[in-house]
């Protein structure tokens, strides 16, 4: 059992720049935690703090209950896959994979054994072992970088955007492989990416970072369906969620000529933000149940054909500044420029205007 714990981690540079504020996270064996966020949010810094390449200003990093703050990166028994792969250019693939074992004076027979194991697991062509990294393709280098981490059999795996240098097709394939490989390892895995598809597909939990603050730490399902605040709602999901700031009147929010029913709130605020994912919005047709469905009418001013679906942008009737985007089946047609859109009550996410926090 080697649970990885971050306790109240703070990281500042100089006196003015705060990169991380009070991050607390546990990662259990077999758990795949992904940190995601826009660039500069502190996700890579978090990884470097766990690795020991940087020191936290405050707080503790612990593995299996023991603080490892004082340990150097090499003594932490943590393996890391770098975005650039960071293979040693002057060593062969075999030397690259085994360098961490050789420096620790592992018996040669065991090194040989473990390397064979790993290259079999990764389906790495043994003919490549004598090549230098410069003679490998991008995908092969990436595999060697993963092999170098696996061969150590560490207590924790760290991966820093390991797929970002691969082309789109390969990325999808390697993503699936990574998921399978790390599932069998049964160790805490911490993954950093800015790609939400990677985060959603790979992780058991996602930590969304923004400006050094952990916005939400939850399963991919919860992050997507119950975003904790407006930032999470807008960051996850593509096309982006519709976010509209509305006035409230009594029990409902006013959207142009239409009224959206508010959820049960302790006090009705004067203003509120509603979030509706484009994929939850459909064209209103006769067979839709009137019950539990909200309809909004408007004028279509932009149609983007995505092949599988159409993304239509609609200016809401009776409002000059509110637009809704809807993702509808590609073959669906409508008459004229005005359409009626429908979405279920449950599809509406409500956020506080000031704090951005989820309201229900």
């Amino acid at each position: 059992m080697a649970k990885l714990e971050l306790k109240n981690i703070r990281k500042t540079y100089g006196t003015s720049t705060t990169v991380l504020r009070d991050i607390t996270v546990d990662v259990d064996d077999g758990e795949f935690l992904t940190f995601i966020g826009p660039s500069g949010c502190g996700k890579s810094t978090t990884l470097r703090l766990i690795a020991g390449l940087d020191q936290p200003t405050e707080g503790d990093v612990a593995i299996g209950g023991r603080s490892i703050n004082h340990l150097s990166p090499g003594d932490r028994n943590i393996a890391m896959v770098f975005q650039s792969y960071a293979l040693y250019p002057h060593m062969t693939v075999a030397e690259n994979i085994t360098s961490s074992l050789r420096i620790r004076k592992t018996p040669p027979a065991e090194i040989e054994d473990r390397m064979k194991n790993v290259i079999a697991k990764l389906d790495l062509n043994p003919a490549l072992l004598d090549r230098k990294p410069g003679q490998l393709s991008g995908g092969q280098r990436q595999r060697v970088a993963v092999a170098r981490a696996l061969v150590r059999n560490p207590e924790v795996f760290l991966l820093d955007e390991p797929l970002s240098n691969l082309d789109a097709l390969l990325r999808e394939q390697v993503r699936a492989e990574l998921k399978q490989i790390f599932k069998t390892q049964n160790k805490p895995v911490v993954y950093v990416t800015h790609d939400q598809v990677e985060a959603m597909t790979l992780s058991t939990r996602i930590g969304l970072l923004y400006e050094g603050v952990l916005q939400q730490l939850d399963t991919p399902y919860q992050i997507y369906n119950h975003p904790a605040n407006q930032f999470v709602a807008s960051f996850m999901g593509s096309p982006q969620m519709n976010l509209l700031r509305l006035n409230c009147q009594g029990n409902s929010a006013v959207l142009g000529d239409f009224k959206l029913r508010l959820p049960d709130l302790p006090t009705a605020p004067p203003d509120i933000v509603v979030g509706i994912r484009p994929e939850d919005v459909r064209l209103a047709t006769a067979d839709l149940p009137a019950d539990g469905t909200q309809t909004v009418g408007g004028t279509v001013f932009l149609v983007e054909d995505l092949g599988k679906e159409k993304l239509i942008s609609v200016r809401v009737a009776g409002s000059s500044r509110h637009t809704l985007r809807a993702l509808i089946p590609a073959e669906q047609q409508w008459q004229g420029e005005t359409v009626s859109l429908a979405f279920p009550f449950e599809a509406m996410h409500w956020f506080d205007v000031e704090t951005g926090d989820r309201l229900h």
């Binding site: 470097r48 690795a51 020991g52 390449l53 150097s72 990166p73 090499g74 003594d75 943590i78 393996a79 890391m80 770098f82 975005q83 650039s84 792969y85 960071a86 293979l87 040693y88 250019p89 002057h90 360098s99 961490s100 420096i103 620790r104 230098k132 990294p133 410069g134 003679q135 490998l136 991008g138 280098r141 170098r148 240098n165």
Partner: protein, 305 residues
């Protein structure tokens, strides 16, 4: 010329009427190739002519050297090895070579051993005032070193280093250090930082990291700067002339220059040429041995590239 030929050439091929060659489209390429080769030959001749002249002179007899008109293609009886044998028989030229070799190698190694860590520090560590330090280093490289020699002469005299190899080794190292630091620093800077992080994660300590990871990758830069430092030390004249007066301790440039001092009536062209050739050969050998290292881009493939 370049315009005239493409017009005339297709004409020629048509007259010969050999349909097997697709002629015209190839012509401009040929002309470019010819111009290129002429340029190459001219450049080579321009650069190497003096070298060949020295080489030729060193093998010609004194009569052939002095004869008018100039002998460009000496007959067998105009050739001799006597200039070379004289060099070693009448002069301690072997000592000159050994002295030069010793001084140049030691000062080069010292220069690399001191310069590389300094460059690494300037490139990677957050040093306060690092920029100013760098400016100072740059300023030193701009300073004409010959102006130092009077001052250094006093120092050498005061410390009692005259006729001591250290009197050459220390200044040579110092003069070469700034350039070494500048070159190595820019080299260290372009090394991906991930590699060092990766080495740390793998469990290398700082010394192991330097030895197993960084030095192998910096080898091209080390060799390049090392050769530059070596050439400077090998060729340096003023310090070597002033600080060393014992004949057996002289370096090649000084020894060569003083070949003529035996006689005022005659300039010993042959021995001069022979000494120049002998003095140059080690440098040529050095560059040839290491050129693979210089050219090789060892960092290729370290990161995604």
């Amino acid at each position: 010329m370049a315009i005239a030929q493409p017009q005339s050439q297709p004409h020629d091929t048509r007259e010969k009427s050999t349909p097997s060659k697709p002629g015209p489209s190839k012509q401009p390429i040929n002309i470019r190739a010819i111009v290129l080769w002429v340029a190459v030959v001219l450049t080579v001749v321009f650069c190497l002519a003096p070298v060949f002249w020295q080489l030729l002179t060193s093998f010609k007899t004194n009569d052939a050297i002095a004869s008018v008109p100039t002998v460009y293609f000496p007959s067998p009886d105009q050739l001799t090895l006597s200039h070379y044998t004289e060099l070693f028989a009448r002069r301690p030229f072997l000592f000159y070579i050994l002295n030069s070799t010793f001084v140049a190698i030691v000062s080069t190694l010292l220069c690399l051993a001191l310069g590389a860590p300094a460059a690494y520090a300037l490139a990677r560590l957050p040093i306060k005032g690092g920029g100013i330090l760098l400016l100072v280093v740059l300023f030193v490289t701009l300073f004409p070193y010959v102006l130092l020699f009077l001052g250094l002469l006093e120092v050498v005299r005061a410390v009692g280093l005259a006729n001591n190899y250290l009197a050459l080794i220390v200044p040579y190292t110092a003069i070469n250090l700034p350039l070494t630091i500048l070159v190595m620093r820019s080299f260290f800077q372009q090394l991906p930082k991930d590699l060092e992080d990766s080495a740390k994660m793998d469990g290398y300590n700082t010394l192991q990291m330097l030895w197993y990871v960084l030095l192998p990758m910096t080898l091209p830069a080390l060799v390049t700067t090392g050769i530059l430092a070596f050439i400077f030390s090998w060729n340096e004249f003023i310090f070597a002339l002033t600080f060393i007066t014992r004949d057996v301790m002289r370096t090649i440039p000084v020894g060569t220059a003083q070949l003529g001092s035996a006689s005022v009536f005659e300039i010993p062209y042959g021995p001069y040429a022979a000494a120049t050739v002998v003095g140059t050969l080690p440098l040529v050998a050095l560059v040839l041995i290491f050129q693979r290292r210089i050219v090789q881009g060892l960092t290729a493939g370290a990161v995604k590239g």
